[in-house]
């Protein structure tokens, strides 16, 4: 019994764990397969080893047999050597031995290591006289052999007579002394010509023969092979009496594994298949069990759901006796709503908790239902809770019996709608509040209904179209525009609205409403329609309306769609604020602003305003365009415009003044030049005023007046003044000349005459008469000089012509040639032959003559005179410069007199004091100037400026 149970338990354990069971089975099978395979591998490889050992042993025995033959041969040869060490009958014995041992290819006697006897000799001549002890391939082995005193097989090596062979050498000792060797040569191929090797199964094995090289100590293989020993499975045998190794190599060392692996693989597949099948098989009953459980749970859940629906739903259920009206059963929610427990509410009549105002109607409904007039009814009514509070419920009563049956049970469903009712009351309240705000608003308000308009726009397919499209549609279809206007329904207007329109009551206003729409400018109506088409919620526009007395008022029209009516547009609040007065005020301000601006712009000067905080111009009047040619925008927009457009010569002054004035903030005016856009220089008089707030200038204002014309006039005036004063100076000079020079003569004459009158003797009188004559002569001379000067000064229309300067220069030199030669005067000049100046010919001749003759007259006594004449341009004026290296003039003392009449500065008897005076007058008459520069004892330079 116990064992049975144990077995059942074990089986059950496996049954309920299909995956584990499958996996365990799999492990078991795999283990078995591996064991069998390993056993198989072991058996096969053991068989192979045995086979290989047998083959190798056979080969070894065959070879050893051959070697024994060799040994006997060498011993036989040894015996043929007599005690004296001379081989007896070698040819005979050699031949005999050779023929009786077919594997021997050659027999040799090697006394002292040198091959001396050989049979057969033919074909092996190359080996004759070879010294075995010194031969490279044999040296070491032969020595080793002498020491061991027994036969040694050397090689295989290349034979001197050709081919590969081995040599069996036997050391021969006579009287205990090494005498030489006896040797046999066996060709390697002959040695290995064994049936066991010949008939070896070449597909399975390969034979190899190796020897350790006596010199390099490396193993050398003698049968050509592709197999790598180190990677192959082999058996070997090391032969005694030589360093030979025999190998038998298995060609396919893994062939046994391949066979086993296939079996292993098959076994594995079977194991996997079996285990999967097992686990599948075991799984089935478990799945069925699970399904059952699921179904059970589902059923349970549905039951719970149903129950909780009845108990926990937000709706109250109650079953009422259809005949008595008493409650049979009610759910928790029903009880909760009324505040009773389910026990308390049982058997209660519904009128017990119905609000007294609703009782009558409730009874009526109940009756109708009981009489079968109606199947169900639904009302909103009030219940009174246990604590006495009224609640609003949505009541639905349905009968649970057929019309032809006896009334049994009604099902009553109630839903608490108290909060909804409260919200409704709230809404009504807010509506009232809205009404009162609407009515008492200080703004004229309208409540309108745009829904018809919107519907019409939908019909016209204008909703959400581009604003321009909508606008142009109404442009083209004025009838539609009228239609839309007529579709606007006015719901209400407020008191202020009546006031604006000056009408007594709403009815009157509504009657006349079409009139005010008439006057409404169409453009604004269109804009409103566009706004509606774009689903705009708010709109504002300045417009006009006509009120009842025909007066037109400016209004600001605004509308807002009341929340909740965004889609239907059934309620829209419009305000029409009267902005006529503010419009007028605005217009006044604009007018006065325009007037001021136009006034400013008529001022013949640039009016400007500068802000000290931002350091920028805040205003510049339009006059800037006419005065400077720049736009207002350029003047105000470009930084440092004013500074940059001041005439460079005046900039420093203007900026300095401006800075100073800004510091002292005293009203100020100053003058400077600016450069206009066309490059003209404009004289500006800038009158600056400051606006001061708390001792700090905030703004400076000013007017820049164009005073260019004034300045030009001033300049002309100055020029004239200069001319007049020049003339005056000359006149004074002239009057001085007259007063002094003429008076000196007249006073002399007067004195002489009085002396003549009072003369005592005739002689004295004659003397005086003589004196008088000379006075008259000099008077005459003076008169002629004066005449000349007068002529110069009165010659206004002097002829001016282009003159070649060099020709006139030469002329002057010609006149003065005598003095030039006498004083050895030299000239330096830069005047080219084609240099031309515009001048009066006579004056030019006279000027050059006077200046050159002066330069010669006032030459320095210690040096030869050099006169330099230059013509150049200085500030747009041609200048003739005449300089000398003469005595010079002390200009500090005589500068003011140098060009005066009869002014001489030396005791030079030739000085007449008239040349420079005439020259000066001539230069002046030509409109030019003459200047002088001089250093005492160095020289004098005159410059004549030609206008």
């Amino acid at each position: 019994m116990n064992t049975e149970k144990l077995w059942y338990n074990i089986a059950n354990w496996f049954m309920i764990r299909p995956r584990t069971s499958g996996f365990l089975l799999f492990l078991f099978l795999v283990f078995t397969v591996i064991i069998i395979s390993a056993q198989r591998v072991y058996t096969i490889s053991e068989n192979q080893d045995n086979e290989m050992n047998v083959i190798l042993n056979d080969i070894n025995q065959s070879i050893e047999h051959s070697l024994i033959i060799c040994y006997t041969t060498t011993v036989a040869l040894e015996l043929s050597i007599d005690d004296a060490g001379i081989p007896q009958n070698f040819d005979l014995i050699g031949k005999e031995l050779f023929e009786s041992n077919p594997i021997v290819s050659n027999v040799q006697i090697v006394p002292n290591g040198v091959i001396k006897y050989m049979y057969p000799l033919k074909g092996n001549e190359a080996a004759m006289n070879l010294n075995v002890l010194t031969s490279n391939s044999l040296q070491k082995e032969s020595n080793k052999c002498i020491k061991a005193k027994k036969i040694f097989f050397a090689g295989p090596f290349k034979l001197a007579q050709g081919g590969i062979g081995i040599m069996g050498i036997l050391p021969v000792h006579k009287e205990n002394k090494f005498w030489g060797f006896t040797a046999v040569v066996i060709k390697l191929e002959t040695l290995l010509d064994i049936p066991r090797i010949k008939f070896l199964d070449k597909s399975k094995y390969e034979f190899q023969f190796s020897k350790k090289n006596p010199i390099t100590n490396k193993e050398e293989f003698f049968i050509p092979s592709k197999l790598d020993l180190s990677k192959s499975y082999y058996k070997n045998y090391a032969m005694p009496d030589s360093d030979w190794n025999l190998y038998l190599i298995a060609k396919k060392p893994y062939s046994i594994y391949a066979e086993v692996i296939i079996r292993l693989f098959l076994g594995l597949i079977i194991a996997i298949a079996l285990s999967i099948l097992t686990s599948r098989f075991l799984k089935k009953p478990i799945e069925l069990k699970l399904l059952l459980k699921e179904q059970e749970e589902k059923l349970l859940k549905n039951e719970m759901k149903f129950k909780s629906m009845f108990e926990q739903t937000a709706v109250g259920f109650a079953l009422v006796d259809a005949s008595s009206g008493c409650l049979i059963e009610a759910n928790d929610k029903f009880c909760d709503m009324l505040g009773y427990t389910s026990d308390e509410i049982k058997d209660k009549h519904f009128t017990n908790f119905t609000h007294h105002e609703d009782v009558e109607k409730s009874i009526q409904n109940f009756k109708s239902l009981g009489e079968g007039k109606i199947k169900e009814y639904s009302v909103e009514k009030r219940y009174i809770t246990k604590s006495g509070n009224p609640i609003w419920v949505q009541l639905t009563v349905s009968r649970l019996w057929e019309s032809n049956q006896k009334p049994s049970t009604n099902i009553t469903v109630i839903k608490d709608i108290t909060s909804k009712k409260e919200a409704q009351a709230q809404l009504e309240k807010s509506e009232t509040r809205f009404k009162s705000i609407f009515e008492n608003s200080p703004l004229p308000l309208w409540e309108k209904d745009f829904s018809a308009v919107k519907n019409h726009l939908v019909e016209l397919d204008l909703m959400n179209k581009k604003p321009e499209t909508v606008y142009s549609f109404f442009d083209e279809h004025p009838d539609e525009l009228y239609k839309c206007v007529s579709l606007v329904k006015i719901i209400d207007v407020n008191h202020e609205c009546l006031k604006l329109h000056k009408v007594k009551d709403k009815a009157l206003l509504l009657e006349n409403v079409i009139d005010l729409i008439d006057i409404e400018p169409f453009d604004e109506v269109k804009q409103q329609l566009v706004a509606i088409s774009q689903n705009v919620k708010q709109f504002s526009i300045d417009s006009q309306i006509k009120i009842s007395n025909g007066q037109i008022r400016d209004i600001n029209l605004r509308w807002n769609i009341i929340e909740g009516y965004e889609d239907s547009l059934e309620r829209v609040i419009l305000s029409t604020q009267d902005i006529t007065d503010s419009k007028i005020a605005e217009a006044d301000i604009l007018n006065s602003h325009q007037r001021t601006e136009s006034l400013i712009n008529t001022i013949d000067g640039i009016v400007w305003e500068f802000d000290f905080e931002t350091m920028t111009f805040t205003f510049v009047s339009k006059k800037v365009e006419t005065i400077l040619g720049y736009t207002v925008a350029a003047y105000m927009g470009i930084p440092n415009f004013w500074e940059d457009h001041i005439y460079p010569e005046d900039r420093e002054y203007a900026l300095r003044t401006s800075k100073l004035v800004n510091k002292t903030h005293k009203n100020h005016d100053y003058e400077y030049r600016m450069i206009a856009k066309d490059g003209k220089i404009i004289w500006i008089r800038d009158i600056v005023n400051f606006v001061i707030e708390i001792d700090k200038p905030v703004i400076s204002r000013g007017i820049m007046i164009d005073i260019t014309i004034m300045k030009e006039a001033e300049k002309t005036l100055n020029n004239s003044l200069y001319l007049v004063s020049e003339q005056n100076k000359r006149l004074l000079n002239f009057s001085y000349i007259v007063s002094h020079n003429l008076r000196s003569h007249t006073s002399n004459i007067e004195s002489i005459i009085s002396l003549i009158e009072s003369a005592d003797t005739e002689e004295e009188r004659n003397e005086m008469m003589h004196l008088l004559k000379s006075v008259s002569l000099s008077l005459d001379e003076t008169m002629s000089h004066l005449n000349e000067v007068v002529n110069i000064n009165t010659n206004i229309g002097l002829m001016i012509s282009p003159l070649n300067l060099n020709i006139y220069f030469t002329k002057a030199k010609d006149i003065l040639c005598e003095q030039i030669q006498l004083n050895e005067v030299s000239f330096v000049t830069n005047v080219t032959d084609d240099a031309v100046i515009n001048y009066n010919p006579a004056y030019l001749e006279s000027i050059l003559y006077n200046l050159i003759s002066n330069a010669i007259r006032y030459r320095h006594p210690q040096r030869k005179p050099i006169i330099t004449i230059k013509l150049y341009n200085e500030k747009g004026e041609n200048v003739i410069e005449v300089s000398d290296n003469g005595i010079g003039i002390d200009l500090a003392r005589n500068g003011d007199k140098i060009f005066g009449m009869y002014k001489t500065f030396s005791n030079n008897p030739e000085s007449r004091g008239i040349g420079l005076f005439i020259t000066k007058n001539q230069v002046d008459a030509m409109g030019g100037t003459i200047t002088v520069a001089s250093d005492l004892n160095i020289g004098t330079t005159f410059k004549i400026y030609i206008k």
Binding site: H740, S744, S747, N748, S751, S754, V775, K903, T904, F905
Partner: protein, 137 residues
């Protein structure tokens, strides 16, 4: 009547001839010297500064002269005035009737008077007398 020394500084040769005649005729001067310009006169004055008996009592000075004119002469005499051990009366005698010249002569305290040309014998005598009067005072 003490005879006085008179110097004439003037570049006009004819005037020099005439004044010599007039000095002779006036007969109130012990000696007279002529100079063609201020420079000559100042040089002579500097050279004879030690011998006061040769220094002039009166100088008749022209304005317009080459080399050194009347005004320059006045500037020069200022420099050596302290060394001169004699009172020298200086009169400007000029043909100029320009008011500037007359006004300018007043700026020099050493100039006693301005006599416009032509000068007469009576003028010369009057100069000497006024000199004596002022000396007497």
């Amino acid at each position: 009547m003490k005879k006085t020394i008179i110097w004439i500084v003037d570049d006009d040769v004819i005037y020099q001839t005439i004044i010599q005649k007039l000095i002779k005729k006036a007969g109130v001067f012990s000696a007279h010297s002529s100079f063609m310009n201020g420079k000559d006169a100042i040089n002579t004055l500097t050279n004879t500064i030690e011998e006061s008996e040769y220094l002039p009592d009166i100088i008749l000075l022209d304005i317009n002269m080459p080399v050194m004119d009347g005004w320059e002469f006045m500037e020069e005499i200022k420099l050596i005035k302290s060394k001169i051990n004699k009172k020298i009366i200086i009169y400007i005698v000029s043909s100029s009737i320009a008011i500037e010249d007359k006004n300018k002569s007043k700026t020099f305290t050493d100039i006693i008077g301005y006599i416009p040309k032509p000068i007469s014998i009576e003028d010369l005598i009057a100069i000497v007398q006024s000199d004596e009067n002022s000396a007497g005072n």
